[in-house]
């Protein structure tokens, strides 16, 4: 499989502070890769290095097999879409005028504006000046701008952090559709549900180091302690290992028609994260 991002022994030091240390990973074409970690873990720093906004202190970073320091050429720019937490819009101009500028810069037809506005549910707002938008609307305009030129690779830094559940879901649907069409997505998030629903693979970053990297499902299974939770009609909730040792007891509850529900007690990605880092996600 062709890799779109390749990072080897990447390190970044700011003054006397190490933001990234010996980071290694690859993202394959067509993947949605989640980069998870607490505040200050180095997620944004990684995106900045991968998009050529920052030089690494040491190590290698390639996008489309090109060193990220050489991505400046226009033809590469058109293949990449970037949304970082410090992206800005022209406040005095309307949503439409903001997008129009980027249509022209990326040389895509203006008809794309309506399409991306529809993707982020802002069609009726397009005449509004950016200065009059809510935080969630701003984030959606920025997403629309990122989608404008149908990039092969999307870098999204906390793309839904300011969105309500309905809008988040719509963005997730859009991302999934783009991914089905072949777009590779690299995203950071604090939202573990988002990571589970969208990502083929996730990496847990903590204090600049990757602690764990795999498919969400595999990680959950790996960290599961094989217990089931049994909810009984009398209101009790029992936690039992799923091996043969409790089979008789559970069988008896079933025979007595006592069971409301049984579900596996697999950890969430959030649980796993707390487990390996000893820190709550913020």
């Amino acid at each position: 499989m062709e890799n779109v991002i390749r990072v080897e022994a990447l390190a970044k030091v700011f003054g006397n502070q190490t933001a990234l240390e010996n980071v290694d990973f690859q993202v394959e074409k067509g993947e949605t890769f989640g980069f998870l970690g607490p505040s200050g873990a180095g997620k944004t720093t990684t995106i900045k290095i991968l998009t050529g906004q920052l030089m690494q202190t040491s190590g290698e970073a390639f996008v489309f097999n090109i060193p990220t320091s050489e991505l400046k050429k226009g033809m590469h720019r058109k293949r990449v879409g970037v949304l970082t937490d410090n992206s800005g819009l022209y406040e005095r101009l309307s949503i439409h005028d903001n997008l129009k500028l980027f249509c022209d810069l990326y040389e895509v037809p203006r008809s794309r504006i309506e399409e991306v506005l529809d993707m982020v549910n802002l069609t009726n707002e397009k005449k509004k000046a950016v200065s009059k938008l809510s935080k969630g609307m701003l984030q959606r305009v920025l997403l629309a701008r990122t989608f404008l030129h149908e990039p092969d690779l999307l870098f999204l830094d906390e793309p839904t952090s300011a969105l309500d559940p309905t809008n988040s879901k719509q963005i997730h649907d859009s991302l999934r559709r783009m991914n089905e069409k072949g777009t590779t997505i690299f995203l950071t998030t604090h939202d573990m549900t988002e990571a589970e629903t969208l990502c083929n693979r996730v990496a847990f970053l903590n204090k600049g180091k990757i602690q764990l990297m795999d498919e969400p499902k595999k990680l959950r299974r790996q960290y599961s302690d094989n217990t089931v939770i049994i909810e009984l009609k009398d209101g009790r909730e029992l936690k039992r290992t799923s091996g043969p040792e409790h089979a008789q007891e559970i069988y008896q509850y079933m025979m007595d028609d006592q069971i409301v529900s049984i579900h596996s007690d697999e950890p969430t990605l959030g649980d796993i994260f707390v487990d390996i880092t000893g820190r709550e996600l913020v």
Partner: protein, 236 residues
């Protein structure tokens, strides 16, 4: 290096529209025009010195300041990043912006010349000289814009330059007395004035070549410094 007219035009259109809605930066145009009105009061012919006080003020406050403030604002509002991550090259971005500053300069200076009643003997030559000088002020504005991080900072940093280039001619009597001020005669604003005086006594293109060359050296210095600063600041 890419140079797409379509992209330059897109940036030009955007900046023009944005500036038309920007009271803070846009109102700077009033400054030289107000000055022009003040100098045009009273009868008799306005001396060359006064015409050029207004023109040099327009160059430093309109050309340089607008260029500087517009770039500083893009940094303050985190929009420059978006442009730089797009296929637009720095040359395209700066050309688009410079065109806006240039057009406002042309409009302002033309208005001022009408108000102060400046009718040079050789208009094409004077226009050429003002144009070359405006390239220097564009480079100055770009340089200061890249060095500052907000409009407020830009407004403060530009002040000494407005004094030096805009009101420098007022210091003429002192320049002749104090030797260390002699360098001021070589500043682009003084050279522009010298050209204007020359033109009135019948100087032709070849006579003002030396003055033009001095201004061009300033342009070159400005451009080189700008490129140098940009290369250093390209990454965070």
């Amino acid at each position: 290096m890419s140079f797409s007219l379509k992209r330059i035009n897109a940036i030009f259109q955007k900046d023009l529209k944005d500036l038309s809605k920007n009271m803070y930066i846009g109102s700077i145009i009033v400054l030289p025009i107000l000055m022009a009105f003040l100098y045009s009061i009273g009868d008799g012919e306005t001396p060359i010195l006064l015409h050029y006080l207004v023109i040099n003020l327009a160059l430093s406050s309109v050309t340089a300041f607008i260029q500087c403030a517009v770039i500083a604002e893009e940094k303050e509002k985190n929009t420059l990043r978006g442009l730089m991550l797009s296929p637009a090259s720095l040359t395209e971005i700066l050309t688009g912006k410079s065109l806006v500053s240039l057009i406002l300069t042309v409009v302002t200076i033309a208005l001022c010349m009408v108000i102060t009643g400046y009718e040079p003997t050789n208009l094409p030559l004077v226009i050429l000289a003002i144009f070359v000088a405006s390239l220097f002020f564009l480079a100055l504005g770009t340089l200061l814009g890249l060095l500052t991080r907000s409009i407020i900072e830009a407004s403060v940093v530009i002040l000494p330059f407005i004094f030096l280039f805009g009101f420098g001619s007022m210091a003429k009597p002192f320049i002749e007395e104090i030797t260390w001020l002699k360098f001021m005669e070589y500043l682009p604003n003084s050279q522009l004035e010298e050209i204007a005086y020359g033109v009135e006594v019948g100087a032709g293109f070849s006579d003002i070549l030396e003055n033009l060359a001095i201004i061009l050296v300033w342009v070159l210095v400005g451009v080189i410094l700008t490129i140098f600063v940009y290369k250093k600041r390209e990454l965070d």
